[in-house]
C-alpha cells in the first residue's frame, strides 16, 4: 500500500440523501454530526448531494453546511450503487476531506463500502457516537458490537478519509438558520462516470407501514408479552389512536404477529422518536440498541425486574391487557375534549 499524504486532507464531508428531489431529513442529522466534528477540528463542513433536480439545497446551508456539492445528472435520480460510488469518489478525490460521514441507511450502507474499497480506506458501520480525539485529531468512531453487548471505539490512523456511517435518528436534525450563508457548487461530470449495467425499475411504497417507523414522532412497540397475534392488535390500536408507528421485537416478528419492517433493534431498525411506548417487552439488549436514544420512554411490563424499566422514564408494572385498554380510554377522552 502506498503511503498517502495525510496532511493534504482537510475538512468534513457528509453524504446527504434525497428522495424524489427533496433533501431527506437524515441529511440534517448528519449536519448536526458534521458541524460538531468540523467545529472541533476548526475546519469547514461540506455536504455532497446526488440527484437530478433538488429543490431545497439552500436548506442544507441554513442547517450548517459551509459548502454544498450537488452532483447533478439524470442518472442519479434514483439510487444505483455504481453511479453513486463514482460520483462520491470523484468529489472525494477533488476535495480531499479528512472525514466522510454518511447515514447508515440502506443507501449509505451500500455505497460507502464501495467507496471505501475503491479508495482503500477504513469504514466503520453504524456508529452511535463520533468524536475527535483532541490529542491526535483523529476521528473516534464508536459503535455497538456483538449483539449490542459491548461498545467498540475504532479509529483510522493511516488512511484518508476517515469514514463512518452513523445510525439514523442517533442525532437530532440541525436547526435551520435562514441567515446562514454558504456556497452551492454544482458539479457536472461526464456521463461516462454514471454508466452502469443496472436498471432501476420502480419504488414501491410499503402500505403495511402506515406510519414509517423511522420518521414517526411516537412509536408504540410490543413484545412477546402481547401473548398472541390477537393481543398484538392492542399495540396497533394504541398506535393508530396516537398516529404512531408500530414497532416490535425480533421475537414478535419471528412469531409472525407483524412484519420485518416493524422490527426494532440490532437486527432491525434504529429509531429515536419523541415518545417510545414499550408494551410487554422485557428489553433485551438487542432491542434496546435500537430504541434507547428515544426522548421519552414509557414501559408497561408485568415483571418489575424487566430490563426495559432501566431505560424508561415512566414505567408501569402491570398486565398490559389491564393497563393498555385503560390508556386507550384515557387518550380517547383527551382526543374528544381537544
Amino acid at each position: 500500500m502506498s503511503a498517502i499524504d495525510i496532511s493534504s486532507y482537510k475538512g468534513v464531508l457528509v453524504l446527504g440523501e434525497q428522495r424524489e428531489g427533496k433533501v431527506r431529513s437524515v441529511t440534517f442529522e448528519l449536519l448536526t454530526r458534521g458541524r460538531a466534528l468540523a467545529d472541533a477540528l476548526g475546519c469547514q463542513l461540506s455536504c455532497v448531494l446526488l440527484g437530478d433536480q433538488i429543490a431545497n439545497l439552500e436548506e442544507v446551508i441554513h442547517r450548517g453546511a459551509d459548502k454544498v456539492f450537488f452532483v447533478q445528472n439524470p442518472a442519479l435520480k434514483n439510487f444505483l450503487p455504481r453511479p453513486y460510488r463514482n460520483a462520491i469518489c470523484q468529489v472525494i478525490n477533488e476535495e480531499k476531506p479528512e472525514i466522510v460521514v454518511a447515514a447508515a441507511t440502506t443507501t449509505g450502507r451500500t455505497v460507502m463500502p464501495l467507496v471505501a474499497a475503491q479508495i482503500n480506506t477504513g469504514l466503520t458501520a453504524d456508529c452511535t457516537e463520533l468524536t475527535i480525539d483532541p490529542e491526535t485529531r483523529l476521528l473516534l468512531q464508536t459503535r455497538p458490537a456483538i449483539g449490542g453487548n459491548i461498545m467498540a471505539t475504532i479509529k483510522t490512523p493511516n488512511h484518508r478519509p476517515q469514514m463512518a456511517t452513523v445510525r439514523p435518528k442517533s442525532a437530532k436534525p440541525a436547526p435551520a438558520d435562514p441567515s446562514r450563508t454558504g456556497e452551492i457548487i454544482i458539479k457536472e461530470y461526464d456521463g461516462a462516470l454514471f454508466i452502469t449495467p443496472e436498471k432501476f425499475l420502480e419504488y414501491i411504497k410499503d402500505t403495511t407501514q402506515e406510519v414509517s417507523i423511522e420518521d414517526a414522532d411516537i412509536i408504540v412497540s410490543g413484545g412477546k408479552g402481547m401473548k398472541s397475534a390477537e393481543g398484538f392488535k392492542l399495540v396497533e390500536e394504541l398506535a393508530r389512536l396516537l398516529g404512531a408507528g408500530v414497532g416490535a421485537t425480533r421475537d414478535v416478528v419471528e412469531l409472525g404477529w407483524t412484519t420485518y419492517p416493524h422490527q426494532i433493534g440490532l437486527s432491525g431498525k434504529t429509531v429515536s422518536p419523541k415518545l417510545y411506548i414499550a408494551l410487554g417487552l422485557s428489553g433485551k439488549i438487542q432491542h434496546m440498541a435500537g430504541m434507547q436514544t428515544s426522548d421519552i420512554i414509557v414501559a408497561v411490563n408485568k415483571d418489575p425486574e424487566a430490563q426495559i424499566f432501566k431505560v424508561a422514564d415512566f414505567g408501569i408494572v402491570g398486565d398490559v391487557f389491564e393497563v393498555v385498554p385503560m390508556l386507550i380510554e384515557a387518550i380517547k377522552k383527551i382526543k374528544a375534549t381537544a
Partner: protein
C-alpha cells in the same frame, strides 16, 4: 367431605405467616391462579385466597392452619398443568410456590443440584448445561414450568425414551406433610433402600399427599454431541411402523417423537413459516446423543437409512443449535398452535405399549371421522405416549360437551383394549379423576384411598384430584 370457607380472620393469619405482600385476595389478581392450561371453563375456579410462601417453615404453618380449620390447600407451580391439578375446584387456599425459586446448590462432585420447587425447569437445564452437566427431565413446557410441578406430576417429556421420566432424576425430597410436619427423605445417596420408598410415592402424587419444598436432582454428564433427525413420511401408518424398527436397531434414541399432518399444518400456521414437506402425512423426529461425534454420526446414519428404506420421503439432519432449534420449534409449539386454531380444546395424554401405537392412531382417526371432528395428534412415539387433542372449533357449549364425552369415552375404551392407560405424563388432576376411578378396580382404588387416608386424614390436600371426593 365438608370444607370450611376462608374467612377474613384466616386471611389475617395468613398475612401474619407470609407477610401482607404475599397474600392475594382480590379477584383480578387471583384470576391467573384460577386455571391452568386446560382451556375449558369447566376446569376453572377462583381461589378464595392465594399465598406465596418463601420458606418451608411458612408452608408448614399454612398447612397447619388449613388442617386446623378444614380448608382445602391447593399447591401450585407455574400453572402449566394439563389436568386441572392446580385449580382450586373445591375452593380454599392456593399455595403458589413462585417465590421459592432458588437453586440452592450445584454439587459438581456428586452430580446433584438442590433446588426449591419454584425454579423453572428451563433454568435447571440451563444451569446444568453451563456446568457441562445434563438434567435429563425435559417436558415441552420446560421454559415455563416449575421443577416442583414436574415432581408433582412426574412429568415425562421428550427425553423419557432414553433417560426416563422425572422420578428417575429425583433422589431426595423435603416435604411438608398434610399435618404440617417437615420431613426429608433421601438426599445425595445414590443407593438408598432405607424404609419405604416415600420419594417415589410423592413424585406424581399431584399435591394430594404433601407439598414438596426442596428437591435433590440427579445430574449426569452432558452428552457432547447431539443430532436431531426430521423425517417426513407420506402417511402416518408408514411413519409409525418405523418406530419399533428404530427401537430395536440397537440404538436408544434420546427422543422419538411424531406429529400428524394436522399438527404439522397447525405448527406451520402458528410459526408463520414454511416447514419442509409440510404436506407430509407425518413427521418423525428422532434425537440421538452421545460423547463421541463419530458414534452419534454412525447412529443417525443407521436410523436415517432405516427410515429411507421404510418409506421416509427425506431425512433431514440437524446437528447444531440453529437447525435443531428450527426442528424443535415445530414440535414444541404444538399446544400453542392448537390454541390459535381452536382456543378451546381437550388435550389427551393416553399411553399404549409402543407396538400398539399404529392401532391406537387408527382408532383416533376412526373416532374423529365418526364424530366429524378434528383430533390432531402428536407425541412421544418412543414411549407410546400420544397427545390427541379434540378441538372445539365452532361448536356450541352443549355440542362441545357432548362431543368431548363421546370422543373421550370411546377413546379410553380403545386405549384400555390396547393395554394402555389414561395418562402418560400430564397426570390425572381433576380432569381425568372420574375416568380413572371408573377404569381402576375396586381393589386398586382401595390401595390408593388407604394411602391418602393415612397421610391426610382430613383430606385437605388438593381434594378432588386423582381420587374423586367421596
Amino acid at each position: 367431605m365438608q370444607f370450611n370457607k376462608v374467612t377474613d380472620q384466616i386471611v389475617e393469619e395468613l398475612k401474619a405467616i407470609v407477610g401482607q405482600a404475599n397474600v392475594l385476595y382480590d379477584e383480578e389478581k387471583m384470576e391467573m391462579y384460577s386455571r391452568d392450561e386446560v382451556s375449558d371453563k369447566l376446569w376453572e375456579k377462583m381461589p378464595e385466597v392465594v399465598v406465596k410462601p418463601e420458606t418451608a417453615e411458612q408452608v408448614s404453618q399454612i398447612v397447619k392452619l388449613a388442617n386446623r380449620e378444614l380448608i382445602p390447600i391447593v399447591p401450585r407451580g407455574a400453572g402449566t398443568g394439563l389436568a386441572a391439578g392446580a385449580v382450586p375446584l373445591n375452593g380454599g387456599i392456593v399455595v403458589s410456590m413462585e417465590k421459592m425459586n432458588k437453586i440452592l446448590e450445584l454439587d459438581t462432585e456428586n452430580l446433584f443440584m438442590v433446588v426449591q420447587p419454584g425454579v423453572t425447569t428451563g433454568e435447571v437445564q440451563k444451569t446444568a448445561k453451563a456446568n457441562g452437566l445434563l438434567y435429563a427431565g425435559d417436558p415441552c413446557s420446560a421454559d415455563s414450568s416449575f421443577i416442583g410441578g414436574n415432581v408433582a406430576t412426574n412429568a415425562g417429556g421428550n427425553k423419557a425414551v432414553k433417560y426416563g421420566v422425572t422420578s428417575r432424576h429425583i433422589y431426595g425430597l423435603e416435604i411438608v406433610m398434610p399435618n404440617g410436619d417437615i420431613v426429608t427423605f433421601g438426599g445425595k445417596n445414590v443407593k438408598d433402600v432405607t424404609g419405604y420408598d416415600i420419594i417415589h410415592l410423592m413424585v406424581g402424587s399431584e399435591g394430594t399427599l404433601g407439598i414438596v419444598t426442596k428437591i435433590w436432582l440427579k445430574l449426569m454428564p452432558l452428552p457432547k454431541y447431539v443430532a436431531d433427525l426430521l423425517i417426513p413420511f407420506a402417511d402416518m401408518q408408514t411413519a409409525i411402523k418405523v418406530v419399533p424398527k428404530i427401537m430395536t436397531a440397537g440404538i436408544i434414541p434420546t427422543c422419538l417423537e411424531f406429529m400428524d399432518s394436522l399438527s404439522i399444518k397447525s405448527a406451520e400456521m402458528y410459526l408463520n413459516k414454511k416447514l419442509p414437506y409440510s404436506d407430509a402425512g407425518a413427521y418423525i423426529i428422532c434425537e440421538i446423543d452421545g460423547t463421541s461425534e463419530t458414534q452419534v454420526q454412525d447412529d443417525y446414519e443407521t436410523i436415517g437409512k432405516l427410515c429411507l428404506e421404510n418409506g421416509a420421503l427425506e431425512v433431514f439432519v440437524a446437528d447444531n443449535m440453529s437447525t435443531q432449534e428450527r426442528i424443535w420449534k415445530a414440535r414444541k409449539c404444538y399446544a400453542e398452535a392448537i390454541r390459535m386454531i381452536s382456543p378451546v380444546y381437550c388435550m389427551e395424554d393416553i399411553v399404549v405399549p409402543v407396538s400398539n401405537i399404529p392401532k391406537c392412531l387408527e382408532a383416533i382417526e376412526r373416532i374423529a371421522k365418526k364424530y366429524n371432528c378434528k383430533i390432531p395428534s402428536c407425541g412421544h412415539a418412543g414411549d407410546g405416549n400420544i397427545h390427541a387433542t379434540v378441538m372445539r372449533e365452532g361448536r356450541s357449549e352443549e355440542e362441545w360437551h357432548e362431543l368431548k364425552d363421546n370422543v373421550l369415552g370411546e377413546l379410553y375404551e380403545e386405549v384400555y383394549a390396547l393395554g394402555g392407560n389414561l395418562s402418560g405424563e400430564h397426570g390425572i388432576g381433576a380432569k381425568r379423576a372420574e375416568a380413572m376411578n371408573k377404569h381402576m378396580t375396586d381393589a386398586q382404588l382401595s390401595v390408593l384411598r388407604a394411602i391418602k387416608k393415612a397421610l391426610d386424614p382430613n383430606g385437605i390436600m388438593n381434594p378432588g384430584k386423582v381420587l374423586v371426593l367421596e
